[in-house]
Amino acid sequence: MERREFLKSLGVAGGTVLAASSPWLSAFSEVDHTNNSRAKLGIIGPGSRGQFLLSFLKKNPNADIIALCDVYQPSIDQTLKLYPQAKVYKDYRALLENKEVEGVIVTTPLNTHCQIVLDAFDAGKHVFCEKALAMTIEDCHKMYQKHRETGKIFFVGQQRLFDPRYIKTMEMVHAGTFGELEGFRAFWFRNNDWRRYVPSPELERHINWRLYKEYSRGLMTELACHQIQIGSWAMREIPNKVMGHGAITHWKDQREVYDNVSCIYVFDNGVKLNYESVISNKFYGLEEQILGHLGTVEPERGKYYFETFDPAPGFLQLVNDLENKLFKSLPFAGTSWAPETANVNHGEYIIGEKPTTDGTSLLIDAYVEAVITRQQPKNIAEEGYYASALCLLGHDAIETEQILTFPDEYKLNYLNHKKMTV
């Protein structure tokens, strides 16, 4: 989806509720003035996720990858196919010394993020770091603090923040369309061993780093970090309490991280987000269900459902048009509506159609835009920080088998949190 289509599809013009729900969309506010500018970027660790991001960057005329760093030759070769002029580095610190590089994209294994990002900020670079941010909340906090100290752009790869389905969902949630929020059920079920092909045994930990505690926090940092955020985005509140359990129940293949995890995050008013990930059954797939007393949203599926009698989509669209100062036709008049023709609750599409994008391309485009304009979109660093911090708090709860509360020393001045002053 093109940026213009994206903004149009959301009815961004004049949408005050939308601006309040997803303020980081301001990243595209100057898109008309940046058409002739180019962001010179370096990518550090262009493995599978990095290649995915590069596939979008290649289509963005405002982005140029002028440097890349990796120690794994296949990743270097693949990147050079897309950007043959890019300078190749084996050590990221050398890449950071390249004065031409304005911003970096960090897609290395989790355990390396913190030091690379801190060094990048110190080198005066803008930073896009893949989620999760780091191995500990403390490291995430250090990264965020460094962003604040240097004033450089800081994005975390939380693509749902730019996914039209989620943006529209939150607009509706915050407008009260689904009533009071009563709970969340987030889950990610797969049925595979989560392993990648290893051409040579000595590369096992290098390639399958997600499976080892030295490099990864497993399902909590690789999958849950996408999803826990939905609760705080909807509630506009950080849950302060978490309990959980993890185990290896199926893939007993020398891996160290759990293949079966559950966490309960508790908001201050008692509303809970139940998180579950199991990778030996895929029947229920992936979703974040938002449960209001008037209705339910399944943003991943792109649908919402009302508890009893649904409002009419055409009239909901009219309300949305009125908010956005639009005068459009209402396509609803026709032969009589009767309950027998509408008694199965199939739900309605959140954005009027089946989803076609997950927000990744728009997220990376927004980063390019921010590098060019040098303007940090509102709340995006904070959202990125808390997305990682919460999944790491869940991980800690699993490891300690205790009910944990969010540590005061790592709170930011954000939503219901107040930064602790000494």
């Binding site: 509720v17 407008a175 009260g176 369309t177 008037l294 009893t308 009698f309 649904d310 409002p311 009419a312 055409g314 009239f315 909901l316 009219l318 309300v319 048009d321 009125l322 908010e323 100062k325 639009l326 005068f327 459009k328 036709s329 209402l330 396509p331 609803f332 008049a333 026709g334 032969t335 009589s336 509506w337 009767a338 309950p339 023709t341």
Partner: protein, 272 residues
């Protein structure tokens, strides 16, 4: 009124949308620039009014006034409320004006084309009597439009100037203007494949848009008095009128007998 959405669109403007189920269909209503409390109050009044009319005129509800009349009026004169008496007499008048096409006795158990002649009103005693034992009255093809006329009265009484109200999508009233333009733009949406080419957009201003037809080939529900059979074919007719009641009469009439358009000049309306 439990199902509604209220939004302050800017410091000076509001929008209220409420929906509920009644008359075996859905009712959707939107209006602008009334505060939330007022809007809820108005919404409740409209809901009460529509449910009241449903209670009076639903022939499937054994306790409704109409069902009692259907059950007993052939054996003895039955007391009738002033309002229902007036509705029935108006409908009988429309039966004559439409040359028998619009017919509230269509569900009767006989094929006598002069059934309405056997309905006797006694204004002094306020009763109704069926001289023919098989007469059954059915207001389902009329009451939605009548209800919309009542809704218009309530909106006016509450000082509402700009509103859009739909009863089952087939009976629509547009009052005043959409805040961003003149009138309200509404387009017909026939889901039957054969009808898709007929979809049209209209701008309504203090007018009623009424549609009658078959949504699909299979879902037919309007009987042609001339044949006693359901009208077939996935097609529909929409009319724009000054009252909801006349909209019901004309849309049904034209759906059943499209060829009589030239004979309907006494009615002021627009045919889509």
């Amino acid at each position: 009124m439990s199902s509604y959405i209220f939004r302050q669109t800017d410091p000076e403007s509001t929008v209220f949308y409420a929906w509920f189920e009644a008359m075996h269909t859905r009712i959707d209503m939107v209006w602008c620039n009334l505060m939330e409390e007022e809007s809820v109050c108005l919404g409740n009044k409209i809901q009460e009014e529509i449910k009241r009319l449903e209670k009076m005129a639903n022939r499937f509800d054994p306790a409704s006034e109409l069902a009692v009349i259907n059950r007993l009026a052939s054996s003895q004169p039955i007391g009738i409320s002033e309002e229902l008496g007036q509705i029935l007499q108006e409908c009988i008048g429309y039966n004559q004006k439409t040359f028998g096409v619009f017919d509230i006795t269509i569900q009767s158990n006989n094929n006598d084309r002069n059934r309405t002649d056997h309905i006797v009103f006694d204004p002094d005693n306020q009763t109704i009597f069926f001289q023919n034992a098989d007469i059954q009255l059915d207001l389902s093809g009329y009451i939605k439009g009548y209800a919309l006329d009542k809704v218009k009265e309530l909106l006016t009484a509450y000082g509402c100037c700009d509103a859009l109200v739909s009863i089952g999508n087939s009976s629509v009233f547009a009052m005043g203007n959409h805040p961003m333009g003149s009138g309200w733009k509404v387009s017909t949406q026939y889901t039957g494949g054969a009808l898709s080419a007929e979809n049209k957009e209209v701008t309504l201003y203090n007018e009623f848009l009424t549609t009658s037809g078959n949504e699909t080939e299979e879902r037919k529900h309007i009987i042609d008095p001339a044949t006693g059979h359901y009208v077939t074919g996935a097609r529909a007719v929409s009319v724009i009128t000054e009252t909801g009641a006349i909209g019901e009469v004309l849309s049904k009439t034209l759906f059943i007998a499209p060829k009589i358009i030239p004979l309907l000049r006494p009615f002021r309306q627009v045919f889509l």
